[in-house]
């Protein structure tokens, strides 16, 4: 177990290392020179050299990468005119655009994306499992059909399209809801939820489809297992068979999926945030991309990478926790 944990974390660090190398290589070797962009119009060669020095892009590339890694682990010092300023670990540098530390920028935006992802996940789990169980039991043909149709439609509709249609319907035509704008949970929980409702629904639609499909398949597969037949042969009532035996087996894959989805939903929130104008990490990324603000781009990408790797690791442990057959060694 402990050995597994260490190996798992070691593997995760390796993946992240690979990711950072890839990112660094791609973004810092890219044809567009960030210094020229920062320097702006009427840039003199002397001024450009200064900017380069301040941004730390005048060193050879491997040295830059080494600095970047050092910054991540131990923090680093940036020259700022005659003095230096210290960027504490984990240092991702300063935004070319706003000159704020990337770490701060990320931390400021994270609660918005987390609110969005968590709410959408809860919503889609509840709806997906509910629909999946109901149609998996095949009690009502019409219900099965509806779920089937919704599942397929859910696969076929992009987040931003759902978002646009929701806005059109609820904010423009019916005027039931205000146009979403983020209110922190700590300020006003009710307004927080009210404003996030449409983004949650938009994000949850696709996830719900996936969960419903998986739950339904799981239920049907489990119900055909031999141990369900044994339970019937020993007189267990159908309700008990479904709740105590079948659901257990059917929902198992969902446990791992949920952890992984929570991470991937945060990346697909890029679209939702842009769509609804929510100031989350995704919006930060889109802004940074348009300004070629490389430290921010690298920072966001690294953050999502960390989230995905962490989620995968957690998923493995969860799986071992719910399935007695799985042993982590």
């Amino acid at each position: 177990m402990i050995g597994y944990l260490f190996r798992r974390i070691g593997g995760a660090v390796l993946v992240l290392f690979g990711l950072s190398l890839l990112l660094y290589g791609l973004f810092y070797l890219a044809p567009s020179d960030p210094a020229i962009l920062t320097c702006g119009k009427g840039c003199t060669p002397e001024r450009l050299a200064e900017v380069r020095h301040a941004m730390g892009v005048d060193d050879p590339i491997p040295a830059q990468y080494a600095h970047f890694l050092t910054g991540l682990v131990a923090g680093r010092d940036y020259p700022a005119g005659p003095a230096t300023r210290h960027c504490p670990a984990p240092c991702l540098g300063y935004s070319f655009e706003t000159d704020q530390p990337v770490t701060t920028l990320l931390l400021d935006r994270l609660p918005v994306s987390a609110s969005l992802a968590l709410g959408a996940e809860v919503l889609s789990l509840a709806a997906g499992i509910g629909a999946g169980v109901l149609s998996g039991l095949r009690r009502y043909r019409w219900l099965d059909r509806i779920v089937n149709g919704l599942v397929l439609a859910g696969y076929a509709v992009p987040v931003f399209l759902v978002g646009l249609l929701l806005l059109l319907l609820f904010c423009v035509q019916l005027q039931w809801l205000p146009f979403p704008s983020y209110v922190p949970f700590t300020t006003d929980p009710l307004a927080w939820a009210q404003n996030l409702l449409l983004p949650w629904v938009a994000l949850a639609v696709i996830q719900t489809a996936a969960y419903a499909r998986l739950t339904r398949a799981g239920i049907q597969e489990t119900l055909s297992e031999d141990y369900i037949r044994t339970a019937r042969a020993y007189g267990l009532p159908e309700r008990r068979i479904i709740w105590r035996r079948a659901l257990r087996g059917a929902l198992l894959p969902l446990v791992t999926l949920t952890a992984i989805d929570l991470a991937s939903i945060m990346t697909s929130a890029v679209l939702t945030e842009t769509m609804f104008g929510l100031p989350g990490v995704g919006q930060l990324l889109v802004g940074a991309v348009n300004q070629i603000d490389l430290p921010v781009v690298v920072g966001v990408t690294m953050l999502t990478g960390v989230l995905i790797v962490a989620a995968n690791t957690i998923a493995d442990f969860l799986y071992a926790a719910v399935d007695p057959r799985v042993e982590l060694r």
Partner: protein
């Protein structure tokens, strides 16, 4: 006094008749066997006794105590299932829920039917686990099924069956998935349980040897009807129905010994095959699995060498080593003095266990047989392939059919034809008949024997079934934990086994003679272990 009376039972799945008018009785405290090949309707009968059919029309009368089971409501059925009639299934691997402990599963059934307290139910679970000889039952009750071996799982399932003290236990192929020695233990246990608790037993099997030793009466089924029934000793001793005679005839018999004086064709010298285990957690590599661990033997030209072993003894690995499909970790394997790994052409061929997996489902059987011919440069092999098909007892037109369109026995014939195609000198058969019905098994064995004689082949025949080897092999090698513990002429090994493991194996072999079966059970129970 009868526990169960089945009268004119008819079961249909849509237009298919699974059981067409079956009648029999199970006396109180007695043991009845139902024997039949696949498709005989025996399992459909078992499911009907518990009302477990969902998509089938069940007609006729099943009288159990004062009830006609076919007319019960769902609620009344649930009071019968598990409490008065309990079932033991074929696959112990999947018949128990993997997510609940063995003890919990037994206790749940007991509580459901008796309304006992949690504590009482847990105690009952431990008690029945002890009754089926699970060591340290109080602790093992907290284990999950995957922590039990196959035999122990089947014991646990029997414990579950016993928990509510049913009047009848229905055991549907309870030992088919188990090793021979474990099979004998489970059959002994069922016999013991019946004697000590006074419950009746309905034992369903495809294997005459399984029912011979454990039942008083048997019903022989074929295509949904009983062709013969009566006292076990009478039916098996003096069968009246032709089909029963065929079945008995198909049970492997000893064949007269042959004199083999060929030179060694295949020589194995100190052969080991170790599979490394993946490194996990600690930095040290775990010890490798020693699948084959030092085997030295000669296969003489013209002989049939039998290799017997239970699951996990490395017999399949050994077969693949002999065919050159695996490279040994150490030791040498030589065919006619040349290393087997460097052999070119088709001089060694194999016949595999599962004829479905051994034929590519996406190619016609003719193409599969033609392959080795094409590789060796034959331009248009169709005529040759059709000859081979006819030689193994198939029609020429089967060339263009796909494996899933053929029966199991026909597929195995195709497998044999493919092995014959490149004119091999040695054919290695890995459990070639273990997935076949008894009568088909007999036909395939006869075919193998024929082609061996006709083409002057040498054969290695790997099997878990000593009875089959007794019929086909000239010599037998007994494999245990990757080593050969005994090697000798078949007749002498059979009559006078030297190694304790061989003796245990022989004692466990099911025989179709009830008196002999009882004698062997007595022997097994007398010698502990």
């Amino acid at each position: 006094m009868t526990a169960l009376v089945v009268a004119d039972l008819r079961i249909r799945f849509g237009d298919t008749v699974a059981v067409g008018g079956l009648s029999f009785e199970v006396p109180s405290g007695g043991a009845v066997g139902i024997v039949g090949e696949s498709g005989s309707g025996k399992s459909a009968t078992a499911l009907a006794l518990l009302g477990l059919h969902t998509g089938a029309a069940v007609k006729g009368r099943i009288t159990f105590g004062d009830d006609d089971l076919t007319t019960l409501s769902d609620r009344r059925w649930r009071q019968v299932r598990g409490a008065r009639i309990a079932m033991v299934f074929q696959e112990p691997l999947t018949a128990l829920s993997p997510f609940h402990t063995i003890g919990d599963q037994i206790a749940e059934v007991y509580r459901l039917h008796t309304g006992a307290t949690r504590r009482a139910a847990r105690d009952r679970a431990v008690e029945v686990l002890r009754q089926v000889h699970i060591p340290d039952p109080a602790r093992r009750a907290a284990s999950y099924p995957h922590q039990f071996s196959g035999g122990m799982r089947q014991r646990a399932l029997i414990a579950m069956a016993l928990s509510c003290r049913p009047q009848l236990i229905v055991a549907d192929e309870p030992t088919t998935a188990l090793d021979v020695t474990v099979q004998a233990q489970i059959l002994d246990l069922l016999d013991e349980v019946r004697a000590t608790t006074g419950t009746s037993l309905l034992l369903i099997s495809h294997d005459l040897g399984v029912v011979a030793g454990s039942t008083d009466r048997i019903v022989v089924m074929r295509r949904g009807v009983s062709v013969e029934q009566g006292a076990t000793a009478a039916v098996l001793g003096a069968p009246s129905a032709a089909y029963t005679k065929d079945l008995l005839q198909a049970v492997p018999h000893a064949s007269p010994p042959r004199k083999i004086d060929g030179e060694p064709l295949l020589r194995l010298d100190g052969v080991r095959k170790h599979f490394p285990q993946p490194r996990r957690g600690s930095w040290r590599r775990p010890a490798p699995i020693r699948a084959v661990d030092g085997v030295t033997l000669d296969v003489r030209a013209g002989e049939t060498l039998g290799v017997v072993g239970e699951s996990g003894t490395g017999k399949t690995t050994l077969a693949r080593l002999m065919a050159g499909l695996l490279a040994p970790t150490s030791g040498t394997i030589q065919l006619d003095g040349a290393d087997i790994g460097k052999r070119r052409g088709g001089s060694v061929q194999m016949v595999f266990q599962d004829p479905l997996s051994s034929l590519n489902p996406r190619r016609t059987v003719g193409e599969s047989i033609a392959d080795p011919l094409r590789i060796s440069g034959v331009r248009d092999p169709r005529a040759r392939v059709e000859d081979l098909l006819r030689r193994v007892g198939l029609e020429r037109r089967e060339y263009d059919r796909y494996p899933h369109q053929l029966s199991g026995g026909m597929r195995q014939r195709v497998g044999i034809a493919r092995a014959l195609a490149p004119h091999p000198r040695l054919i290695i058969c890995d459990e070639p008949v273990s997935s076949l019905d008894v009568t088909t098994q007999a036909q395939v064995l006869a075919l193998l024997e024929d082609v061996r004689a006709e083409f002057g082949l040498t054969m290695v025949f790997v099997s878990h079934d000593l009875a089959v080897l007794r019929q086909i092999a000239d010599r037998v090698a007994v494999l245990a934990e990757g080593r050969i513990v005994e090697l000798g002429e078949t007749a002498s090994v059979w009559a006078n086994p030297q190694h304790p493991y061989t003796k245990e194996l022989l004692a466990a072999v099911p025989v179709a003679d009830p008196a002999e079966a009882r004698r062997r059970r007595a022997l097994r129970l007398a010698s502990p272990g």
